[in-house]
Symmetry: D3
Subunit: 136 residues, 6 copies
Amino acid sequence: MGTCYITRKEHFNAAHRLYVDKWTEERNAEVFGKCANKNWHGHNFTLYVTVKGEPDPDTGFIIDLKVLSELIKEKVVDKLDHNNLNMDVDFLKGIMPSIENIVMAIWQQLEPHIKGCKLHCIKLIETENNYVEYFG
Amino acid sequence: MGTCYITRKEHFNAAHRLYVDKWTEERNAEVFGKCANKNWHGHNFTLYVTVKGEPDPDTGFIIDLKVLSELIKEKVVDKLDHNNLNMDVDFLKGIMPSIENIVMAIWQQLEPHIKGCKLHCIKLIETENNYVEYFG
Amino acid sequence: MGTCYITRKEHFNAAHRLYVDKWTEERNAEVFGKCANKNWHGHNFTLYVTVKGEPDPDTGFIIDLKVLSELIKEKVVDKLDHNNLNMDVDFLKGIMPSIENIVMAIWQQLEPHIKGCKLHCIKLIETENNYVEYFG
Amino acid sequence: MGTCYITRKEHFNAAHRLYVDKWTEERNAEVFGKCANKNWHGHNFTLYVTVKGEPDPDTGFIIDLKVLSELIKEKVVDKLDHNNLNMDVDFLKGIMPSIENIVMAIWQQLEPHIKGCKLHCIKLIETENNYVEYFG
Amino acid sequence: MGTCYITRKEHFNAAHRLYVDKWTEERNAEVFGKCANKNWHGHNFTLYVTVKGEPDPDTGFIIDLKVLSELIKEKVVDKLDHNNLNMDVDFLKGIMPSIENIVMAIWQQLEPHIKGCKLHCIKLIETENNYVEYFG
Amino acid sequence: MGTCYITRKEHFNAAHRLYVDKWTEERNAEVFGKCANKNWHGHNFTLYVTVKGEPDPDTGFIIDLKVLSELIKEKVVDKLDHNNLNMDVDFLKGIMPSIENIVMAIWQQLEPHIKGCKLHCIKLIETENNYVEYFG
């Protein structure tokens, strides 16, 4: 028939801080404002994972969404949820946790495990007013 | 000026069931879980139809949204709303009603009737946590 | 300190039909319109359960939300989700599944099991355009 | 004419941790689960402040919403936003930052400053799935 | 069984301006800011109408929502939608169109026509950040 | 690493009217219906601005969202908010204020000022049921 795109939404709540170690306190405060607060702040993050492919002739599925959801939980959400994005997450070690960088790191986590269809987009909503998308 | 994309949102509420006739009960239960329930379940579906084109120099419209809305109602929503997607819909006969397959069938229903601009995307939200897009 | 109200949101997807057995087909069609369709239709239902009480001096909790969520799942959501509200649900047997009646039946299911605080409100959203609340 | 209720929505993003100092690590983990993580987690909090009163005959206002919004910002949001609710907030010192306790503390912050009408409700949404209300 | 509350949501888009004729331009600008703009501004208004009563033993309905929706359309929405709230609406003549005053005027429009149950609340959302409720 | 897309959401409330001067009243009424009302109507418009680029190695930012937000406010939102789109906006002079035309005019306003990354999309939501996107 052709190619469809299916998207699964997941959630995680986490703390983070924007801070460049090699900069002075002043420069960090100037660039990141309140986001540099040394005692952290946090967000409810909403994650959308989109895959593309052709539906199976029997099931009509591009992918079993339960399988996709469990994969996202295992590789991404369980590692991020109720954690500190600067300190607690193996796949973010050494990475400034801007949403741009988080989204690209989530792509790296998921892409090798998507079977039978292709990862198309990672979208991450940080607040009601901003979100980032990455297409690989 | 260039090409714009305009999107109209519509709604329908319907029952369906995911079930492959040639499979055993056990295999259906294993693959589709609760979605295979023989007494049906249902959803509030949200449908987004996007067309693209150049705005008319006088009206500033790619398409008259009232015309688009009436077309979607006549060809799609009136046939799906408060119906059973496995049993009641002429254009879904013989089609497993996964959202992927529904989205592609809606495209076939609408595409020949879009005049003066082009159908670009059909998006269908099945639950708060998943949706499908099709671009033809 | 005083009394607080805490609310937990849950979801279920179900099929139903509005139909009075003792009425003729015509009267059913006249009163219930498309909602009387013999092949069912369905909705994504959103359920809000509100309890009230005084926060515990140590935990600051009126109720442990994990406990409340599991109670709602066991007594209500697991019985309704992906089921047929006219046929599959023990606590709706013999009850016309209007949202008004469903909400009052959910209250009866939950109220005896709420410990250490009091059930205050059951709210059920059937579509984007209508919902029902019941306060006991 | 009679009494109206007007509500203003505001936002803040913050980190917190649920932890009772006098308890063991084990008991904290058992009661609060991932919310006890020593490296913090966080949320996008949505705050609704409702006041009640009779509209002014000239302006039709219960309260000037710009005044209410600035009051909420000064007394509440500026103190909470991008901060750590366990460490950074003067009016939460010594208070377990459960949403129940935060809501009651916000009431104490605002109530003395509402002039010409009465504070009616503080509502705080912590995640998509839970919120607390307090009516004084 | 007891009393339930059912709510119907409707929409209208309208222009308005906040301006007291007997005041100077300066005082109007000072009190109402940009809302006093002489060339108008506008909103997408969302209206919630809640009625309360006991469900009918046969239908399980407090009120037929189609009847309620048509009543709201005839008495309220058709008069407000795509109109100017200062100039075009019979039931707002001589009334400063603050949301507080609009909500009370909508109550007066609807209350005499609600049969078999009682009007409980009119809620009107003017922007994402503010709304008014009136309970008669 | 590669290219990311970041989106900022802003709001404005405005009045407008759809009307072609060279047409008769009748033809305007026929084509635009209630949108041609001579006393105006209005909307809460939601604006999404998406830029694309590579994150900075230090900050992890494609663009500083505070800078983007201020730019959108200065060049777009402050000119549109609480104004009349047919009369009050310099960059819409002589332009029929359909959402298609507004979106393309907003692109022209912003595109020359985006530095260090590229403007990718302007999306404007006019009502709950329709929106327009423009990609340059």
